[in-house]
Symmetry: C2
Subunit: 152 residues, 2 copies
DNA sequence: GCTAATCATTGGCGAAACACAAACGATTTA
DNA sequence: TAAATCGTTTGTGTTTCGCCAATGATTAGC
């Protein structure tokens, strides 16, 4: 109503974010289980699709997951043939992780299944425009993250 | 740009939601630890403040957490004097859980601490208006949830 | 060439989330 | 008074996950 004078957001989203994402995540687990995936895998697959191939180290930084856990995560995915580890030609210590064709397809299949979950949770409380808006905000919030390039 | 003709959101937020909330949650844990709280506690305290007192059963439904786990959650909070369990005058088998004054204060203190976390994660990628917008969307998405009243 | 640093990997530890089963205690009903 | 109901409590077990240490392979510095 009145012009806000504050230059700081009054409301904090952290708790709501936690609550809402948990509601979606628990439902997602049920839906993803038949596909042999867990929510965590989905995030990794999504990042890999968008990046088009990164080192595990970069993946660890992006996901903010400990390197050792990234290994087991990728082991799961590679065991199913969804990702592929290649040695980097530049530095043969590194692995370059990439989605396989099967990975692309499985991801698409998972997203299709997850759409139903999201419709169930958000469908009755947000209209399409709001959901698109939410997506764009989240996208901006996650993509815009400062990836601290290792400058030594 | 063009008018969208679809009546279904093209983009799904689930994965982004998962990713972002995780980034905030891990940082929150560090910040909340000195206060003797975990993210889970914060969600419960927030719900209790807004509802102004509910039964554990209702809390269980809202948080979508198993009733038995709500107990231990409340035990933690009550041990610190943050919440209070009263017998319901209507049905003396029930407990009505309410925030204490100490609970209100601790929650405020926690929110203050969490604000710094949220600023760190969102501050550089979303402006104030966008953060408020995100909040309102999340608020609507969580508050609007269907609370299935037990009608037998 | 030799030593140190880097990257991926493995295994183990501990904390936490969570679901489930069973018991308990107070209260209501027959 | 006995039985049934309801919320709560206790306890157990599984799974997830972050962290630490050690190993092997590779690269970089001296």
């Amino acid at each position: 109503m009145e012009l806000p004078v504050v230059n700081q957001p009054v409301h904090r989203s952290g708790v709501l974010l936690d609550h809402l994402s948990r509601r979606i995540r628990t439902r997602s687990e049920s839906v993803l289980a038949p596909l042999g995936l867990r929510p965590r895998h989905l995030v990794a697959l999504t990042v890999l699709r968008e990046s088009g191939g990164t080192t595990q180290q970069a993946l660890s930084a992006t996901l903010e997951i400990d390197g050792t856990n990234v290994v087991s995560l990728l082991n799961d995915l590679e065991k199913d043939g969804l990702v592929e580890r290649r040695r980097s030609p530049e530095d043969r210590r590194r692995h370059i992780v990439e989605l396989t064709q099967a990975g692309v397809e499985r991801l698409a299949k998972a997203e299709f299944a997850l759409a139903a979950v999201e419709d169930e949770v958000l469908g009755s409380v947000l209209d399409e425009a709001q959901r698109e808006l939410l997506y764009s905000l989240l996208k901006q919030a996650t993509v815009g993250q400062k990836v601290v390039c290792t400058n030594d």
